[in-house]
């Protein structure tokens, strides 16, 4: 039989006061398999550990049970201690006779009785503990950042600065995301471009960062440290290696289509940069607009281009690369308010615009060079109504959550209007004004000080009447109806997850909530990690937030990635599940149950009499399995078992309670 040593700790008086430790040690001698038992004042102390190590040698023990405080406290300590002995660190069990025995009971007789039971249960389990060894998986020292907004840019820069290679993938033809569209940012009112463009330039010039614009993720395989990601580089029809970005083609292109970057307030040619400060500053051709690509006519840009960079036969390219970590920074988009709010004109009135459209109007590089003009007749509006929580905090018509940043950029818009249009009248309809940040409240106060009128209530209807937009609402503080004749209305609409986030989450094996926001591993403990090892997240893709929080999260995600990539290999916990392939029937009940998608069904060759046949069995990816054990119960045969908590170990523990 194996030789078990039982060590009962006094823990000063913490245990010895209500548990007769000598009697526990004495009783332990009678348990099957126990050949030595003793007590000591402080088992976790230096001399305590030395005593244990010495006893292991002297008594030739092969497993030990320590009756002391909670394993959550010193399991790691005692396992490290065992590393120095011939016993495998996992042939150790700890009986919790302090937090769950001596500290919570008063009757010494019964507490000692319980301590003996707990010791017997631990001995019964330790007899079946097998030596376990951590296995290590290599780590590819490259990171992938998905999404080129400020979140992705900041994360990429931090990781690259730490010396690791980064690939930044952006769906649009340029990075910059929503921040590039903004004019000013609250609360400091510093110009958005002045913050983001230098970072964008750093990205393009950073030796460690490879920028892939107009690209999307096609498929993700592998696991933490060893992801193989296939990226689809959509056709640009312009050879960026030769192109110098002179812009000649852009000015000559005859077709004009609605510019998405300018939120539909202006037109753009079929070929061109997304916007002036685009990075990379090189044009691409929009295949749905270019006449040459649609019906073979024109091709003017190809003729004009001095360096012959235009190539109409360009195709999508699929690139597969290996990565150690992935950061999701896919950002957000604004809710399609048109069908949701017909009462606001449902998009018919040209002068009822969204917050981003207003940003483009007020932006110096925008379609109106910064002059706030009514999109309908380009005249300067005198009375502007701002309506907040359009789609947010509205479970029936839009989203139930608050989009967090609109109160602040609503106040900013009011400030900009009062600043740019002297004598303008700004009426802001709100439910609550939320200013949850440093200098946020003061910024809001200044705006009201500048003359912005805040009316508490929702606008119920907007209709056009002789060139004016009549906004009917109610001032719930004064309990009276309000009607404002406005020249223009700005709707601060809700943030919703970016298009395609559900498909991307599916590929990465991460979860999204019912709104589509990516689910973090734990809101407080692991806010920038996901359930899948090696996949991190930052920015609005996790939930509505403003730029300061986004940048903070980007730094946090980067530090997590750097922490991972600094190591050559990663030790996986040995307490993971293992499959006995001879008994596995390949039914797949365990596969769906794994929160980490660590189990896959694969075919193996098995000799069956004369011929070999393909048999489907479950296979576990040691890197992904976190050792929760849910699959163990899914398997009726019991052939998938969590090492350290195998079925026979727990059965012995249950049996030994009532011996």
């Amino acid at each position: 039989m194996s030789r078990v040593g039982v060590f009962v700790c006094h823990c000063g008086t913490n245990i010895a006061q209500t548990v007769d430790v000598e009697r526990v040690a004495e009783a332990a001698k009678s348990f099957p398999g126990v050949v030595y038992s003793s007590t000591y004042k402080y088992m976790c102390s230096e001399p305590g550990q030395a005593m244990i190590k010495e006893t292991i040698e002297k008594e030739n023990l092969d497993r030990i049970v320590i009756c002391s405080c909670t394993p959550r406290m010193h399991e790691v300590t005692f396992r490290k201690m065992l590393k120095g002995t011939k016993i495998n660190p996992y042939q150790l069990e700890i009986a919790n006779i302090r937090e769950q025995c001596s500290w919570v009971h008063t009757d010494k007789e019964k507490a000692t009785e319980k301590a003996i039971n707990l010791a017997r249960m631990s001995v019964a389990k330790v007899l079946l503990n097998e030596p376990l060894h951590t296995s290590s998986i290599p780590i590819t020292k490259r990171a992938l950042v998905i999404g080129g907004g400020i979140a992705g840019i900041q994360a990429a820069l931090d990781i690259a600065d730490a010396g690791h290679e980064v690939v930044l993938v952006e769906k649009e033809s340029s990075i910059g995301g929503k921040m590039a569209m903004l004019d000013k940012t609250f609360p400091t009112l510093d110009c958005s471009a002045c913050i983001s463009t230098p970072k964008m330039v750093d990205v393009s010039q950073h030796p460690n960062i490879t920028l892939m614009t107009s690209s999307e993720i096609e498929s993700v395989g592998g696991y933490v440290g060893n992801f193989d990601v296939t990226i689809r580089q959509k056709a640009k029809y312009v050879n960026h290696d030769i192109c110098t970005g002179c812009g000649l083609c852009e000015t000559k292109c005859p077709t004009k289509v609605i510019s998405e970057f300018n939120q539909g307030l202006a037109k753009r040619p079929a070929i061109g940069k997304m916007y002036a400060q685009a990075v990379p500053a090189k044009p691409v051709i929009d295949p749905n607009a270019c006449r040459k690509l649609i019906d073979g006519k024109c091709g003017l840009c190809a003729k004009l281009c001095p360096l012959g960079c235009i190539n109409f036969e360009d195709e999508d390219k699929l690139v597969t690369e290996k990565f150690g970590a992935i950061v999701v920074a896919t950002g957000y988009q604004l809710i399609e308010w048109g069908e949701l709010y017909p009462e606001y004109g449902g998009g018919k009135y040209k002068d009822v615009i969204t917050g981003l459209q207003f940003e483009r109007l007020v932006n110096a590089s925008g379609p109106s060079e910064g002059h706030i003009l009514r999109p309908s007749d380009n005249t300067e509006p005198k009375t502007i109504v701002i309506i907040k929580c359009v789609g947010s905090r509205d479970p029936k018509k839009g989203k139930s959550y608050c989009s967090r940043a609109c109160c602040m950029y609503g106040a900013k818009h009011a400030h900009q209007i009062l600043d740019k249009i002297p004598g303008a009248k700004v009426v802001t309809f709100y439910i609550d004004v939320r200013t949850p940040g440093k200098n946020y409240e003061e910024f809001y106060d200044n705006t009201r000080h500048d003359g912005a009128i805040y009316v508490r209530g929702r606008v119920s209807k907007i209709y056009e009447e002789d060139g004016k937009l009549i906004c009917l609402g109610e001032d719930s503080l004064l309990a009276r109806k309000v009607a404002v004749k406005a020249d223009m209305v700005v709707l601060e609409t809700a943030m919703v997850p970016a298009v395609g986030i559900r498909e991307l989450a599916g590929m990465l094996g991460i979860a999204v909530d019912n709104h589509g926001w990516v689910t973090e591993a734990h809101p407080k403990l692991r806010p920038v990690e996901t359930q899948t090892g090696g996949v991190f997240l930052c920015g609005v893709c996790q939930g509505p937030k403003d730029i300061p929080d986004t940048v903070a999260q980007a730094g946090a995600a980067a530090s997590k990635v750097i922490g991972l990539l600094n190591k050559d290999s990663m030790e996986t916990s040995p307490m993971i599940s293992k499959v006995d392939e001879s008994k596995c029937a390949g039914c797949g009940f365990c596969v769906k149950m794994c929160p980490y998608k660590a189990i896959t069904l694969e075919d193996i060759d098995v000799r069956q009499g004369p011929k070999t046949v393909k048999k489907t069995v479950a296979k576990i990816n040691g890197g992904l399995c976190q050792g929760c054990g849910a699959c163990n119960v899914a398997c009726r045969t019991g052939c998938i078992e969590l090492l350290g908590f195998k079925n026979n170990q727990i059965l012995e523990e249950v049996d030994s309670l009532c011996l």
Binding site: A585, L601, T637
Partner: protein, 275 residues
Amino acid sequence: MINEIKNACLKAFESGEVGYIIGWQATRFADKTTPLFMRSAEDVEKLVWNKYCVNSTAKYALEDKYPEKKIGIILRGCDSRAVARMISDKQLKRENLYLIGVVCDGKEDPICATCSHKTPVIYDVLIGQPTTEEISPERFAEVEKIAAMTPDERYNYWAVQYDKCIRCYACRNVCPACNCVECYADQYRTGWQGKAHNRAENQVYGLTRAYHVGDRCIECGQCERVCPMNLPIMSQTRKMLKDINDLFGPTECGLTIEEAPVLGEYDLNDREEFM
């Protein structure tokens, strides 16, 4: 009806795709038939179709997982659900099977009274007119009868049953949902199930098996039919099915070939009673 089935079998053999077909044949006793494995045309002559064809034909296909040719099976309603069950559990491949569905006329088996699927749910060729199906009100009668007792009465009722059990494992070997490679009860090293024949071990076996198949039981009633000691095994699995019905919505197992068992799923707004 018998001739149509025989023709279907002959046609299957002519197609050359089918290795053998499983059906029923007469025995020396008028009130009993036994499974028949037809390999050629003349075997088809022995085929019978009467109210004593109570053996389930489906599970035999499990013993031949890598057949050269297709396995033909003549399916009543419950057998077709058994095939659907085993395909959902990935133990049988649909392409290895040639299924001859026969609309069942009810057999000499108590379960047929509460049968809700006389028409096979899966087949390659169907014989007989499909009937309208509805779930019998008596489905959970037995379970409700036991539920009406007090806990002690219930325990004594089951204690007597499990005193009778002789652990012959016929209920396991006939059940299409019991398709493990090696049953937990045969793995002594793990120690789930003792070998002793006493009430406690029988209860462990009875309850464990009920729990293993509870959310996949197709209510074919074979376990009760084969039990030599006439234990009310279906009342255990039907209790599970009744709970699944009440808690997670109406459930009937073995109706499709990609069926996700209830215990393999979860729903965020399941009933919360452990708060």
